[in-house]
């Protein structure tokens, strides 16, 4: 891998930018690997990268049915934060946020991580109490979190409508200043390039159609490009987790829902932070291109359609326009849906399964993007050592039987 730097840029500028090497190879699948990661999104590629970097496993493949980052990695609203309520989640998401802070340097790829602050608004007395409780919990866990009064919200983000007579008046907010946004495509590409440089085979257009087992352990996968054998298989296929787990005869506590997002036409910089609201189900930030990136609540029914209903978009825009009246004059450019797999406790599953050699990373619901590097890091540990990392031990499949759930419906920010 040739490193990207100011000198490389200058050198290639002299050559009319025709000398850049491909960011990753496009190899034919080998018949046999030490480990296979199914799913070439951010979490899968990060898992492969950390398997190669920290556990010395380099004979591994990432199988992607479409193109890299074409699923939820390229469909989210790119928000990164770690202000979760319970110790277990706070530790996991904060682990991830700490990796984000050095990720561009580590990958030698600019993921455009911008710590512009994430504000969560309170619109009623219950919100105020819940957010204050979470702010205290965050501080006890060493996570930065400020509580802003209504006036301080106005000083921090003057665009917000602070009028007391709107349907959902703003009464205060929490602010995590270390939170922010990152460029989601670059996260997938950066991890892919860094994993490829360590010898990982990234195989696109390769759909897994079956999981082969012998005597209670996995032996490989059937794919649209033939049979590939491996002793260890990690499923990282958000949205389709139930479908993949079903191939191995496992039922999951997961339901798949469309989550929609949309962007406006680009305008000059006017919003320099991320604003989220649980109560009205809307969140917005401004991309570096100038578009308002707006996220909605999930469509409430099970679906794999990657579309969602128009009424959800309407409800979200009602909320956005009430919070930011000036946005009523913005035209919306694009709308899309991603399929998120939601768990009953709004926490992910990063776990071994009843089948030996089969591991699963799923159930991130509406908030998986922020966890990409940390999730890959601990999941790689789980696969390599055949036992969970301390940070993901609480996020096992067994918790649904033992009852030890990690209820993050408040911090998940999007009800599901």
């Amino acid at each position: 891998m040739r490193r990207y730097s100011i000198f490389a840029l200058a050198r290639n500028a002299l050559g009319y930018h025709e000398g850049w090497e491909r960011a990753w190879r496009s190899p034919e699948p080998k018949p046999d690997y030490d480990a296979i990661i199914v799913g070439g999104g951010g979490h899968g590629l990060a898992t492969a990268y950390y398997l190669a970097k920290e556990h010395g496993l380099t004979n591994i493949a990432v199988l992607e049915k479409g193109w890299l980052g074409g699923g939820n990695t390229g469909r989210n609203t790119t928000i990164v934060r770690s202000n979760y309520l319970w110790d277990e989640s706070a530790a996991l998401y904060e682990h991830s946020l700490k990796i984000w802070e050095g990720l561009s340097q580590e990958l030698n790829y600019n993921v455009m991580f911008s710590q512009r602050g994430v504000m969560n608004l309170a619109h009623n007395l219950h919100d105020l109490r819940e957010l204050k409780r979470r702010a205290h919990a965050n501080r006890l866990n060493g996570i930065d979190c400020d509580f802003l009064s209504r006036e301080q919200v106005g000083e921090y983000c003057p665009l917000i409508n602070l009028s007391p007579d709107i349907r959902h008046p703003v009464l205060g907010a929490t602010l995590q200043r270390r939170g922010g946004v990152a460029r989601h495509d670059a996260v997938a590409w950066g991890f892919a390039r860094a994993a490829d440089a360590r010898g990982v085979d990234i195989i696109q257009n390769c759909e897994v159609t079956g999981i082969m087992r012998e005597g209670g352990r996995v032996t490989g996968v059937e794919t649209s490009r033939g049979t590939i054998r491996a002793k260890k298989i990690g499923l990282v296929t958000a949205g389709h987790s139930s479908v993949l787990a079903g191939m191995a005869g496992i039922r999951l506590p997961v339901e798949s829902h469309p989550l929609q997002a949309l962007v406006s036409e680009p305008v000059k910089p006017i919003l320099d932070t991320v604003v989220m609201s649980n109560t009205v189900h809307a969140y917005v930030s401004q991309s570096d291109k100038g578009e308002m990136v707006i996220g909605a609540g999930i469509d409430p029914y099970v679906s794999y359609s990657q579309r969602g209903g128009f009424n959800v978009v309407q409800d979200t825009l009602h909320a956005i326009v009430e919070m930011f009246p000036m946005f009523s004059r913005l035209r919306m450019l694009r709308q899309w849906g991603g399929i998120v797999d939601t768990c009953p406790d709004a926490s992910p599953i990063l776990s071994k399964t009843p089948i030996e050699g089969l591991y699963i990373n799923c159930g991130w619901g509406t908030g998986g993007f922020k966890a990409t590097p940390g999730s890959g890091h601990v999941f790689a540990h789980t696969i390599a050592r055949d036992e969970p990392h301390t940070l993901n031990a609480p996020f096992s499949l067994e918790r649904f039987t033992t009852g030890r759930l990690v209820d993050e419906h408040g911090a998940a920010a999007v009800a599901h």
Binding site: H240, S242, V243, G246, R251, L252, P253, V254, E255, S256, P300, Y301, V302, S303, Y304, S305, R307, G309, F310, N311, D341, P344, F400, T401, T402, G403
Partner: protein
């Protein structure tokens, strides 16, 4: 899926309905007789298929009655609707 055919009211806008999740889940009368794994199965585990899905709907802003539907979750096409207590229609099985 912009409209849903309520078996009592006919075709109405999707905004009038609330999704009730997977249909035909049976709660054991003696829940204390179940093992933890069986109870977890009833509470949490779901079919979540990519394809035909039998599910419950509530016409909350209409007749306020529950009914079942079979829908293809990949295309969001509703294949059949039927009233509570009725068996899943043959055509959709």
């Amino acid at each position: 899926m912009l409209t849903i055919p309520c078996p009592w009211c006919g075709e109405r806008d999707v905004h009038e309905f609330r999704s009730g999740g997977e249909a035909h889940l049976k709660r054991e009368r003696r829940a204390d007789a179940l093992s933890d794994a069986e109870w977890a199965d009833f509470l949490f585990l779901r079919a979540n298929p990519k394809g035909e899905h039998a599910e419950r709907w509530y016409h909350v802003h209409g007749c306020r009655r529950w009914f079942n539907a079979v829908r293809n979750t990949h295309t969001d096409t509703i294949l059949a609707v039927y009233k509570p207590g009725e068996a899943k229609p043959e055509a959709a099985q």
